[in-house]
Amino acid sequence: MIYTLCFVLFLVGLYGVTCKKNIVKIILGFLIMEHSINLFLILLGWRKNGIAPVLEKGMSADILVKSAVDPLPQAMVIISIVTGLAILVMMVAIAIRLYQKYGTFDITEMNKLKH
């Protein structure tokens, strides 16, 4: 089923976050995870032979309710995309500053906070 493929994409992003050493690759792993969850949310609202949830002229409301795809996940996904954008901007800003301080993007060399 297609939901399993979304979950596989989530695991690919998780692999990128946990097993890679470059900060940019970690950021891309988070991006893949976010996209997979957004995809999963949109696919939840699918209805067979459905139309877009837009009321056009000359269409009554009953037809819209009976045959449109679910619009609530679409609203959730818009908000989720904007939140993800804000987090991405935050991560990239920290990555630029970290490059300035440490000279490298490798996270194994950033260990000034010791026990």
Partner: protein
């Protein structure tokens, strides 16, 4: 065609094309914002297209032209004031006897469907969100691209570049 090294930005073809197309992109952003309650799209998409206009202007003409037109401070103030106005309009529902985000204009003056001036507060929300996101994304782009980490005298510094020339890849 040789690139003129003294003037910033890209070549002449790119500049002319950008000059023609920029107005149309801005118009498309306004269309997406204002028709947000009738057709798909709305504040977020319109705002992103607004920011794309300014990014295109930065890429084609260099940062000095754009920063004279819409500086970093102006963008920050636009961003914050659009957010404050959004919250004020949302709270105004309380003063007219409703709840927080309630669409008071629609309840008081109900309007026909499919028109541009309908659906109460929603066009205002769309417009304010578009200004907010447009200014915000442009500010993010300027801060990320105009400042660079360079190696000077053996130390790494975060400086502001003089000319924004993406062909060369180094400061002039």
């Amino acid at each position: 065609m040789k690139t003129d090294k003294k003037s910033p930005g890209m070549s002449l073809i790119v500049k002319n094309t950008a000059r023609t197309v920029m107005g149309l992109i801005f118009l498309f952003g306004i269309y997406l914002t204002l028709y947000g309650h009738i057709s798909p799209a709305g504040g977020f998409s319109g705002g992103v297209v607004f920011a794309c206009t300014f990014i295109l202007m930065t890429l084609a003409f260099g940062k000095d032209v754009v920063l004279r037109f819409l500086g970093k401070t102006t963008a920050y103030i636009l961003n914050c004031s659009a957010a404050v106005l959004f919250l004020l309009i949302a709270c105004s529902g309380v003063f007219f006897g409703g709840n927080f985000f309630e669409n008071v204009i629609e309840k008081m003056y109900p309007s026909a469907n499919f028109r541009l001036f309908s659906a109460g507060f929603i066009p205002f929300y769309n417009l304010l969100i578009a200004i907010n996101i447009g200014a915000g994304l442009f500010m993010v782009f300027i801060i990320f691209s105009v400042r660079r980490v360079v190696e000077m005298d053996g130390k790494r510094k975060l400086i502001t570049t003089e000319f924004f020339d993406i062909k060369e890849g180094k400061i002039q």
